[in-house]
Symmetry: C4
């Protein structure tokens, strides 16, 4: 009995290395194969959505989509089985994405058309960076992520402010334009206001009355100034992070961060620096 | 007589604490209830503006809007009565907003349709930050506000310049396009010019003549460069504020600039700082 | 004879002070009156361009426009006569603007419709800053102007690059979309390309073929990245200028700019600074 | 035999100096002539694409285009022959551009219409900077290029992220809008998503359902925040480059950081610098 368990355990480890690892040749091959299948399946879903192609090759699309779904389902089960801590995987970001990639096809029994949502598996393509050892690139990305996280609070305040302004300005436009020209109700007017403030400007809804145009001009110039705010926030954050990185030097005694390259004493513990001891670590 | 006055005074204080404070459970409950009613009333106004919903539930919308207005009116009166310095409240930002939130419904007797302007009460939702103790977030917001205030002068100059340019370029386009394609008069052409320079670009008015298109291209590229100016102003201001905060403090002995507000020792002469001696001088 | 000349000279000086100066009450009154007339005349031209108003009050518009033109012509002549160095005025920026403001009305004898170009006199409104003693605001503006001038070279290179890219990408789209959907000829396609790269996006011309849409998507994402360049240039320039301004301190001997606030010696002439002698002059 | 070879060699060198050099009068004249011909040929291709002009002067356009093509072909051959290392030229950027400028006309035998692609020779106009000795301007451009290259990794990650988001959000919109209003298939919906996120906003495809509009609003606000990222990256990079240039040099005696490259004395210890001793270490 123990012998069988052991054999099973060895198999489980082998599968784990192939599926999760990308250090061995088998693991890397599996990863690249997986990426190819994901890309292929996303392209198939896209093509199937084009009526012309769907009419010609409907059966081909359905069959291949089912084959891919079964393949991903097996992969998902193997990932759970081969993992010693399956819950860690299931509740991770990729665990959710992998599950979400399967569901649309099964859901299409109940809600026809939902199979198109299978494109959510394109999120799995983000694994590309890990597979191709693009760690420097990933670090760059994490640098941006840090800056965005640091600016998150400010951006929440900013978005809240934009929404409140859109509700008020949208309603004013609704009252002025009087249900004409697409301003048929307040939600539509708010939608127009967001389209305008973000400088997207579809033109499906546009003011016609002179007062409406004057207010729209005001909103545009305001929006033009407002676009400066998130840009300023992120830029200041990115510059700060970079600056911090460039002057990364620590006290040899207390390991405190030293901001100033001309420092003679540590500002934290008073340690006297020998000349050249604190260098810019770039 | 004095006894009665005292009882009234106690009641006034209790109301004050509930309405203005958010420290007690009653105060917090009242605040959250208020937020919910505001949100509900804004949603109701939005829904009523949709013809389909209004036809089905017209009476429901009118009745509920009146109930909410009466509720807000009572709250406004209580806020004035319970406050020892009612004028401070009445002429504050929220005092104006609270009053403006009531008026549209009463004004709708005289100007039908103006009840939609009740959405102005969505400005009251800005109290959310105070209620939920989101003080760090609020500080972030005030940081942005400071930067915007500091850049206000420059942005005024900038907007003035844009308006003058729009008047001249708009008129040139009016002369070139000759009353066609939406350039029916100079105000419309100026409106088009603002739509173009801010990169909104509805397309409801667009040049057709070759010369008009050439000038439009020039305006676009110019506008593309001009968008850099407010962004640059705000970014420089945000970066400066951040730097200023970290920096403006000197060693009491050697007068050296201390970069770090948490410093215990001067990095130049090794002077030990008494706690709080080196403050941020803002 | 000399007496008459002297009287004429006194009159000339009086006129000069009233017209050019804004220090005396008469001078300031004249300036504000002038601004009001300019604003009025620009508004009149705008209103006349609206067919409905022109039909009702055509004669009023023509007469008032002639009165204003005669007034400005007289003012222009007085400015030349009263100035000791009339050529300095004539060939200055405002000299050109003042002349250009007069011409359209006289040119309208030969080219009907050109009177609308009289709005060019709105450029005279820029004098507002000088008149209202808005010198701090003007300084702000000159700060921006400096930064823009410093970035001018880079922006010229940038615009040149955008134009070359637009020519090539526009032609490619012309070949692909094949004279349909607004891509009727290469200049139109180039116009579309500029509209797209600057993110204006009217939608009067839009790709229909799948390949055209793919290339358009590429152009958009590229344009999205390119918008970063002028913004980055101007922001870096504005930050630099500001930084320079904040550390504005000069050597007391050779008047050289000292970059570093911790300097003990002038880097230019070797002058030893007494402690605190070089301060940040903000 | 040797004599002939030598004469040929002298001719080769003369041609080389005229074609490649811009130091002699002949070389400069040739360069300017070449630029004029390129500009002329690009304008001719543009004009020929306008149906009206082509009908009137079809033969003129064809003949002149052939003359220009033959001229460029001869120039290309001379460039190869006169160069000692012809492969260096052939595989350089301008080598490819010069070849690509010739091909469209010859290809038009097989693929009618491809002659319009001759505008690719407008890339040759970039030689303008070298010819006009605009070296400072070119340096500016190379400064930008460096910054863009340094940010390339981050921008790749960023574009990858935008594409993945566009695929998913586009598909969601396709499912919601249900083949109506231009969302006829997934590729079209993705195209719409890119048009929206980049704030171009043609309006040829626009959501109609309330949920679709809500999601579109979310995408717009997100895109509005996202535009901050490339701008922030490039700005931070441009600021850093500038700072680095002004800064990286130390006093040979006290090793202090020297901010100013024109410094004659160390600001810290007063050391006199021998000319050129403190260099910018780039």
């Amino acid at each position: 009995m123990k012998h069988i368990k052991s054999k099973y355990e060895i198999l489980r480890q082998k599968i784990y290395i192939v599926i999760y690892g990308s250090g061995t040749i088998a693991g890397k091959t599996f990863d690249l194969l997986l990426l190819a299948v994901i890309l292929l399946s996303v392209l198939l879903i896209m093509m199937q959505s084009v009526v012309r192609y769907d009419k010609l090759h409907h059966d081909f699309f359905v069959v291949s989509e089912w084959i891919i779904t079964v393949f991903f389902t097996l992969e998902y089960i193997l990932r759970i089985i081969s993992n010693k801590k399956p819950l860690n995987y299931i509740f991770s970001f990729y665990g959710f994405v992998d599950l979400l990639s399967l569901l649309p096809m099964y859901l299409s029994f109940f809600f026809p058309g939902s199979e198109a949502l299978g494109v959510i598996r394109s999120l799995r393509l983000l694994r590309l960076f890990a597979i191709l050892d693009l760690i420097p690139v990933l670090n760059q990305s994490s640098h941006i992520k840090e800056s965005l996280r640091a600016s998150a609070n400010k951006i929440v305040v900013f978005v809240y402010f934009i929404l409140v302004m859109s509700v008020i300005l949208g309603t004013i436009m609704f009252v002025i334009e009087g249900r004409h020209n697409g301003f048929t109700n307040i939600p539509n007017s708010i939608y127009w206001c967001i389209v305008t403030m973000t400088t997207v400007g579809y033109g499906d809804i546009a003011p016609i009355t002179p007062i409406g145009k004057a207010i729209a001009s005001f909103i545009m110039i305001m929006g033009y100034g407002i676009i400066a705010v998130p840009t300023g926030i992120v830029t200041a954050e990115l510059s700060r992070n970079r600056r911090t990185k460039n002057v990364k030097n620590n006290c040899p005694r207390c390991k405190t961060f030293i901001y100033n390259e001309f420092a003679n004493y540590c500002y934290n513990c008073g340690e006297k620096f020998i000349d050249g001891e604190v260098k810019i670590d770039e």
